[in-house]
């Protein structure tokens, strides 16, 4: 896992560093898991196909996280992992693998209202990719 929490008074600010774009989305999935169930384990019991579009990598990351939070909000789906089918400059296709939230096994977390565009970035670096995301709680 290569994301870390940055200081933020009211909400959650995250920095992701990853060697590849594929890994960025793996890390973003791990982040979604933390935001929805904390450190409790998640089993792979079902798969949710996902397609997100964005004209920049940062916008793709934003839409990807929004999709994950939406699946949790409406279906209680918690992701354990991400399988990419394709990543193009404008579209990401793949699937979340995971299970439904189980209050007996999963730890309830404070609600995340949204992923914001505030300080949103995902840029190439000599070592791979560096991104920042702020979530509104």
């Amino acid at each position: 896992m290569s994301y870390r929490h940055l200081p933020h008074t009211a909400d959650i600010k995250i920095e992701i560093t990853a060697p590849s774009l594929e890994q960025v989305f793996q890390d973003a999935t791990a982040l979604l898991r933390e935001l929805t169930v904390g450190s409790t384990g998640v089993e792979v019991r079902e798969r949710r196909d996902v397609t997100v579009r964005g004209d920049t990598p940062a916008e793709q990351l934003l839409q990807f996280l929004k999709e994950g939070l939406y699946l949790f909000a409406v279906d209680g789906f918690v992701p354990a992992g991400w399988v990419s089918d394709s990543i193009t400059p404008t579209e990401i296709q793949g699937a979340f693998e995971g299970e439904s939230f189980d209050p007996n096994r999963h730890e309830t977390q404070p609600e995340v209202k949204a992923v914001t565009r505030h300080d949103l970035a995902l840029d190439r670096t000599p070592d791979g990719w560096l991104g920042t995301i702020v979530f509104d709680l």
């Binding site: 933020h8 909400d11 977390q109 995340v112 209202k113 949204a114 565009r117 509104d136």
Partner: protein, 481 residues
């Protein structure tokens, strides 16, 4: 003084000006005392006051309340008014939780009546009003048609369905229903809203049993039915997932609209559209629909508060649980204000700010005409909250607006670190405050010391004349998400 490299000039004890510079179309006006200004060092919120001042059609200053803190696009605690023809509307000026707000109910019970039954009362509230992330109700599942009625008619729908009494509607902004258009609300947003009506949610939202601990204005307090030791119920919540989704959907649209209309933005989260555009019309329809959902949401929770009072005390007591008022602190509204001696119709954005209309304002119900609009400023779960009324000063200086809360002073990570070795519910119980929460993490993140002292904030608005203190409330029991 310099604050994060921004020059800020002190006007008087409670006012600070950020001079117009660069692409700013107006100046910034911050209400704060010297101590609160020091708290802003290291925060981006003053820059956000400046950013808002860049938006087209802004009228008067870009205003910040004393509880200002870092938001998205607009700061939390920001107020800005835009000309109806030349101005813009920005979802970032309203916030994700559209019509997040606070309502206060008063009971015929005294603190001494309730204290022996407090645990049962708090348990009943916890059972009757689902809280926590994604909380939903099994007993209120709306059909598509019913959701459409909620989005059009707000609290009026709820009262017609038996969740309250007609008198409640006189004590809400807009009578609890704005001009919402369900057709402009996405299927995703509607899906999120179907089974969340009557739920409090998570984070800083709560249902609180409290009592009147001090009175500052006898006339206004008497008119509002508040006397020392009167037991009250606070409900702080908004439009739940439906509102978050509406904001998210329209931010995507407004990013494109800003490009389409050539609006230069210092921050993408300030994306907006001209008020005369179809994008603005659609957002206003959807925002008002989400606001109606929030009005109905708080109305249903009031019904379940009354039911808890029935179960623990009596039906007679519940019949006398009256709504004092319901305020929205995340919303944009068209209002007429006097600017340079002329009445102008403006779109006033209040994000983490409360409308505070003065006595004799035509939008207020007859019962508030001589005292002004009631305003509620919740603090943290361990100290106190305040009841205020609107003033002519607010109408003259802040487009009839005042502050909305305490504002955080400690990050969630820091609060959890402080709370981890402690038993916060036990500490609060020792002070006579019972906590029931869906998640320990929420309680830890919401420890009282994570917030500024709301008294400081309220003293500034009272001192500056943009709100008038009426009463102080102290908590006895709190239901959190």
């Amino acid at each position: 003084m310099k604050l994060n490299d921004v020059r800020v000039e002190q006007i008087d004890e409670f006012r600070w000006r950020v001079p117009q510079h660069g692409g700013m179309r107006t100046y910034g006006l911050i209400f704060a005392d010297a101590a609160l200004m020091q708290d802003l060092a290291g925060d981006q919120c003053v820059q956000q006051v400046i950013n808002v001042a860049h938006l087209p059609g802004i009228v008067g200053p870009s205003i910040a309340m004393p509880d200002i803190h870092w938001g998205y696009g607009f700061p939390i605690g920001g107020v800005a008014a835009f000309d109806e023809k030349e101005g813009v509307i920005s979802p970032g000026g309203v916030g994700y939780d559209i019509n997040c707000g606070v309502r206060l109910l008063r009971s015929p019970l005294s603190m001494h009546d309730v204290r022996p039954h407090l645990r049962k009362l708090v348990d009943e509230l916890y059972e009757g009003i689902p809280s926590g992330v994604g909380s939903s109700r099994a007993d209120v599942r709306l059909t598509d048609s019913e959701l459409g009625h909620v989005l059009r008619r707000g609290a009026r729908w709820a009262v017609e369905e038996g969740f309250g009494v007609p008198r409640d509607l006189e004590c809400m902004e807009g009578g609890g229903a704005l001009d919402g258009n369900p057709d402009t609300v996405s299927a995703r947003a509607k899906k999120r809203g179907k089974n969340q009506l009557g739920t409090v949610g998570s984070g800083n939202h709560f249902v609180e049993v409290g009592y009147v601990s001090a009175i500052y204005d006898d006339v206004a307090a008497t008119r509002l039915g508040l006397s020392l030791n009167t037991v009250t119920f606070f409900i702080h919540s908004g439009s739940r997932g439906l509102g978050y989704q509406v904001c998210d959907d329209y931010l995507d649209l407004m990013v494109q609209a800003s490009r389409k209309y050539g609006i230069e933005l210092p921050d993408k989260q300030l994306c907006c559209a001209p008020l005369t555009s179809p994008e603005a019309r659609d957002y206003l329809g959807a925002m008002n629909a989400a606001a109606n959902y929030a009005f109905a949401n708080r109305q249903l929770m009031s019904h379940y508060v009354r039911r808890a009072v029935t179960d623990v005390f009596s039906g007679d007591a519940a019949d006398q649980v009256d709504l004092v008022y319901d305020v929205a602190h995340n919303i944009a509204k068209f209002e007429t204000h006097e600017v340079a001696g002329q009445g102008r119709r403006l779109c006033v954005h209040r994000k983490g700010a409360t409308r505070a209309f003065p006595p004799r304002h035509p939008e207020l119900a007859a019962r508030f005409q001589d005292i002004g609009q009631p305003v509620f400023i919740p603090g943290d779960m361990g100290r106190y909250s305040y009841v205020l009324v609107g003033t002519p000063g607010a109408y003259d200086e802040t487009f009839g607006s005042t502050c909305h809360g305490a504002g955080r002073r400690m990050s969630r990570t820091q609060a959890k670190k402080e709370a981890r070795p402690r038993n916060v519910p036990k500490e609060l119980a020792a002070r006579g405050i019972l906590i029931r929460a869906a998640s320990r993490r929420t309680v830890d993140e919401e420890i009282p010391e994570a917030y500024k002292d709301v008294r400081q904030v309220v003293d500034v608005v009272d001192g500056a004349g943009i709100g008038k203190k009426v009463a102080q409330l102290k908590p006895m029991g709190v239901v959190k998400g």
